[in-house]
């Protein structure tokens, strides 16, 4: 994959921080195309498996793409490199987006994608760090990831490693009290090397978050818990990249004397993003498309990328 230097990121600080193994960071346009590829993978995987969670995989596709193809310091040839950035998909049910990103990034052969949820597959129904190269943490029970990330961030600092820890949570998931335990603790230890990204796709399993358990302003909550919170359009690649790169750069910048607030990115997204009949439809939280539906979806995604 070659990159047009004219469209390279200009921020020198972030470019210096990013060591992307074999790959130079992608441009926004390239990232958008990659996100399309990943969306296609998601549809194909879930259709083949006839099970899985398309909605929350698609909504997070831009965030995960930006992380794996530009922002994170990783080396797919060395998945256990101690200085690598860590990624945790706390909303583990959305793992198809993660599996696709890892495969596209070269952690394992893309042919594995067709084995999702099959017996003996390396791709489990929920992320399993012991089975899949590149998976930094097992997930599936909602509400663990931010705490795990906090532990990774503490461990990094204690061992003098300057990696960054990225945790993606769901907007339903933040109803779990354990998330707020972690939210309270991260500022206490000034964990600027930890970034939470809430995929606010407005839907959870049973319906709209607003109907099930309205949260009011999530940003207000994170700020009240001591975080720097910012809201972005989580399906706008340029906005996503900017927010992530600033979060990473900020990890070395003290917010006020002696303290460093972790950053929470409230990413407003559309559940099922990219597939019109799935967008903002609760039913597609955990339902697999049939073959015809998948064809339709792939068509749409490809056309959007080409256009």
């Amino acid at each position: 994959m070659t990159v047009d230097p004219g469209t390279m990121p200009s921020d020198a600080g972030s470019a210096r921080a990013v060591v992307n193994g074999d790959l130079a960071p992608l441009t926004i346009a390239q990232l958008e195309r990659m996100a399309g590829t990943i969306r296609c993978d998601i549809i194909e995987m879930i259709c083949t498996a006839q099970a899985g969670h398309p909605g929350g995989s698609l909504s997070a596709a831009d965030i995960v793409t930006a992380l794996y193809f530009r922002v994170m310091r990783i080396d797919p040839r060395n998945p256990s490199w101690p200085d690598r950035d860590r990624f945790i998909l706390s909303k583990g049910h959305a793992c198809p987006v993660w599996y696709s990103a890892l495969a596209e990034r070269g952690y394992f052969d893309k042919r594995h994608l067709a084995t999702l949820r099959r017996l003996d597959s390396i791709l489990q129904g929920h992320p399993d760090m012991r089975k899949t190269p590149g998976i930094d943490m097992t997930a599936g029970s909602l509400g663990h990831g931010l705490s795990v990330g906090l532990g990774m961030a503490l461990g990094g600092r204690l061992q003098g490693r300057d990696y960054h820890v990225w945790v993606v949570l769901g907007d339903g998931e933040v109803q779990e009290g354990s998330v707020w335990e972690a939210a309270m603790a991260a500022p206490r230890w000034n964990l600027g090397n930890l970034t939470a990204i809430v995929d606010c796709n407005r839907l959870q399993n049973d319906g709209y978050v607003q109907d099930i358990m309205p949260a009011g302003s999530l940003a207000d909550k994170w700020r009240a818990f001591g975080w720097t919170a910012r809201e972005i359009d989580g399906n706008d690649m340029a906005e996503v990249v900017r927010a992530l790169e600033e979060a990473r750069a900020g990890s070395t910048a003290p917010v006020r004397a002696g303290t460093m607030a972790p950053v929470c990115i409230i990413a407003h997204t559309v559940k099922g993003k990219g597939v019109s009949y799935m967008e903002d439809v609760a039913a597609w939280h955990g339902r697999a498309p049939c073959l015809e539906e998948a064809e339709l979806a792939l068509d749409e995604i490809r056309r959007a990328c080409a256009g």
Partner: protein
């Protein structure tokens, strides 16, 4: 060839048992759905019943209750601890909350609340728990409630029920509502066959002999009862007469039915898709050694995590298929004969 004498087994099931196709061709329903249907009826009869959910109402089907009785349904979002402790609070006001969700998260995420705010004060809360055992195959270990029977059995004041088919799940739901005090109900994610006739005498705490036999007994629970019936039929063709006990209530355990089976058949196999540690197998082992020690073997998830895959394939790969049950029965019969 031995004849088989069964009790409360539907005639269509008997035919499918004979031609060996019950597990592949039997009509069935996930017991989570049987619960969701039953609780609407129960709620209609008893206005004290309220249903609590944790963002998996659609997965259980308890949305039907919410539609029928909107003011008596509360969805707590993804907050199992809050739901379980709030259920305790609701129970103190005279209501009968059915707190619904997935086994892993109800019995682990909220276990402190389950124990300290429901069971210690003996509050009248029912925990309605889907995805028991390894029945949620493709979701993988994080969603496979392989410990729920073990964990709940360890809790004092618990009543633990795991019915084997849709009919008895309905009866269990209704019996739980009538029972004074906490009840834990464990359901399957995947379908299990309709097994029983309407005259099945469901009573909490009373195991039911659903097949007679004298050479050995299989004590089974939840989704493994149908497997036990198939295994018993298989063994009949090999000349063994095997009793099958549907032990739907793990606690209080029906010691009498199990001890009679031990005395009369002299060899016992337990079958559960729960871990073999702490669940049905341990319950039976405990009363055998304390009362009437006979050779026994446990079939269950052998102290490991399974993986993603179709539920029937997992049963085979992880040692809980009908063939495994049958082999275990032959083993205990052999051990019994060696002792004689």
């Amino acid at each position: 060839m031995l004849a088989s004498v069964t009790h409360y087994i539907r005639s269509d099931v008997l035919k499918l048992l004979e031609d060996g196709s019950l597990l592949t061709h039997g009509a069935g329903q996930a017991t989570r759905y049987a619960y969701a249907e039953a609780i609407v009826d129960v709620g209609r009869r008893d206005p004290r019943v309220v249903v609590l959910d944790v963002d998996v109402a659609k997965s259980l089907g308890t949305t039907a209750f919410a539609e029928a009785f909107p003011e008596r349904a509360f969805n707590f979002g993804i907050a199992e601890q809050n739901m379980v402790a709030a259920a305790a609070g609701l129970a103190t006001t005279g209501l009968i909350p059915f707190a619904s969700g997935y086994a892993v998260f109800l019995t682990m995420r909220a276990l402190d609340q389950v124990r300290n705010s429901i069971h210690y004060p003996r509050l009248n809360v029912k925990i309605a728990s889907s995805h028991g055992g390894i029945t949620p195959g493709p979701d993988g270990p994080t969603h496979q409630g392989q410990e729920d029977l073990s964990l709940m059995r360890a809790i004092a004041n618990a009543t633990v029920v795991a019915a084997a088919d849709p009919l008895t799940t309905r009866l269990a739901t209704s019996a739980a509502a009538a029972w004074e005090g906490p009840v834990y109900l464990s359901f399957t994610r995947d379908p299990v066959p309709y097994l029983y006739t309407d005259d099945y005498p469901f009573e909490i705490g009373k195991a039911v002999v659903v097949r007679d036999g004298l050479d050995a007994t299989i004590v089974a629970v939840r989704d493994m009862v149908c497997q036990a019936l198939v295994a018993a039929e298989l063994l009949r063709t090999r000349g063994l007469s095997v009793r099958v006990v549907d032990c739907h209530t793990l606690k209080p355990l029906d010691a009498q039915t199990i001890l009679s089976a031990a005395e009369e058949t002299g060899a016992v196999v337990t079958a559960e898709s729960n871990t073999i540690i702490g669940g049905l197998g341990s319950a039976v082992a405990e009363i055998l050694v304390e009362n009437y020690p006979v050779p026994m073997q446990r079939i269950g998830l052998r102290d490991t995590y399974a993986e993603s895959g179709p539920y029937p394939d997992l049963l085979v790969k992880y040692g809980m298929s009908t063939a495994h049950i049958a082999a275990a029965v032959e083993n205990v019969v052999e051990r019994k004969r060696a002792r004689a």
